[in-house]
């Protein structure tokens, strides 16, 4: 640890283990980087961890000003800090520790946590700096901060979604009982859509998974066909589609093709060349003749909202064989559309 010359032998004679050897062992094996400077800022010693951390051999650093290991603004300010400390004794870092920026031999910089101790020997003053690279920790903290922000944003947006569903359900309800039932079902449909998104870390969802989840939730598997290519949906569109499908299923089970034994639903979709191009067709068959629903009802608005979200348009047709709902955005390949039963 002694930075310059050998100690006189007197202290080791009182210390059978060898004080010098003991400190040397700590210095050489410490995981943290240790640099010893004199009061003029000249490096007098550094340990192997410091050599690794800064990418320098000891010989390149010893005898030179320690500012070579620092990035700006610390680099330019350091001599001034030392001078002020020599004159005033005012402590800015000694015994306190702080976050600074180091600079490697290759010029790259990195965040450092630094603590400094002062000691004297033979009338000379030295400073020992112990340093740790906190790049990973800084990155992890930043990552965590972003995730908490993102989570907060999603929670607030989801609450706004629930607020919207609740207010619209109450607004259009014929009775408190029917509102209670409809609200429960809509919130459960929203939760199901979130399940699909959670499985994919909220990066999006497969259209087929959203359709499959809705079919399962409405226990309509044997009477519903779902045909279409692989299409990825952004999270918000996946949620909008899930809610639109929920409304279509609920309507079909109450008034449409799923009220009769022979009725069913074909769901088909096709994609185009550009990512957003999509046509989705809901086709009921074998059901009773349906009447046009309330334009201001949540279901119709949800379908129009989904179309708007997809930058497309929605068309609802009340044909003798049953309801047909078409949502189109952009150009789709007509052959593909025909193949998936949506051509006519």
């Amino acid at each position: 640890m002694q930075p310059t010359e050998d100690r006189d032998g007197s202290s080791s004679s009182h210390d059978p283990v060898g004080e010098e050897a003991r400190y040397r062992a700590i210095f050489d094996t410490a995981v943290d980087a240790i640099v010893v400077i004199d009061e003029m800022g000249v490096v007098r010693a550094l340990n192997p961890s410091a050599e690794r951390l800064f990418g320098h051999d000891g010989a390149e650093v010893i005898g030179r000003n320690v500012m070579m290991l620092m990035a700006e603004p610390y680099r330019s300010a350091h001599d001034g800090y030392l001078a002020r400390y020599r004159e005033t004794g005012e402590r800015r870092i000694i015994g306190i520790g702080r976050a600074v920026t180091g600079q490697r031999k290759d010029g790259s910089t990195f965040p450092l946590e630094l603590s400094v101790a002062e000691w004297r020997e033979k009338g000379e003053r030295f400073f020992t700096g112990v340093m740790r690279d906190v790049t990973e920790r800084t990155r992890a903290e930043e990552q965590q901060r972003l995730m908490v922000n993102e989570l907060n944003h999603r929670v607030k947006n989801t609450l706004a979604t629930v607020q919207s569903v609740a207010l619209q359900t109450l607004r259009n309800a014929v009775s408190l009982d029917s509102a209670r039932g409809a609200l429960n079902e809509r919130l459960l449909a929203l939760a199901k859509a979130h399940d699909v998104l959670t499985r994919e870390s909220w990066e999006g969802a497969d259209l087929a998974d959203i359709v499959g989840s809705a079919i399962e939730a409405h226990a309509a598997g044997s009477r519903v066909t779902a045909t279409g290519p692989h299409v990825r949906l952004a999270p918000k569109r996946a949620v909008a589609l899930a809610m639109a499908l929920h409304e279509l299923f609920t309507n079909a089970a109450k008034y449409g093709a799923l009220t009769t034994d022979g009725g069913g639903v074909d769901i088909g979709w096709s994609s185009g060349r550009r990512p957003g191009d999509l046509r989705l067709v809901w086709r009921e068959h074998g059901g009773p003749v349906v009447a046009s629903p309330d334009r201001r009802g949540f279901g119709v608005r949800m379908i129009n909202g989904l179309a708007r979200d997809l930058a497309g348009e929605a068309r609802l047709e009340f044909r003798p064989e049953g309801l047909r709902c078409t949502i189109s955005a952009g150009e789709v390949d007509d052959e593909q559309a025909a193949a998936s039963g949506t051509g006519t």
Binding site: K156, V162, G305
Partner: protein
């Protein structure tokens, strides 16, 4: 507000939340004259639409924002308010003087802001 029905531009990427805003506006006797869910549509509408005021969701998902649309509205002297789940984050300093509404939406504050800008 005057007697005339006020016309609004609504920029909101989530369809369900857009319906909520529409309902709240209609309850106040305003009309949603134009609405958009993407930054591109928002910018087009900001340039061309004939409205009395605008409500802008800051973050439109997939890294898109309403900031460019807000720049155009400011130049056209169309009053606007921000709507966000984030707080002031994401609103650039030059637009920070516009009113800010949080999600979920407080109907009373919403009405006060709309009355102030419409």
């Amino acid at each position: 507000m005057s007697e005339r029905t006020k016309r609004a531009l609504v920029i909101e990427d989530e369809a369900i939340v857009a319906m909520l805003i529409e309902d709240l506006l209609e309850d106040m006797g305003c009309q949603v004259a134009a609405s958009a869910a993407t930054a591109r549509e928002a910018l087009e509408l900001a340039q061309s639409c004939d409205v009395d005021f605008a409500l802008l969701d800051v973050n439109l998902g997939e890294g898109q924002t309403s900031v460019e649309a807000a720049d155009v509205l400011r130049d056209r002297q169309v009053p606007y308010a921000w709507l966000t789940g984030y707080g002031l984050q994401g609103v650039p300093p030059e637009h920070a003087d516009a009113p800010l509404l949080h999600k979920p939406i407080h109907p009373g504050l919403f009405a006060a802001v709309v009355r102030a800008i419409a």
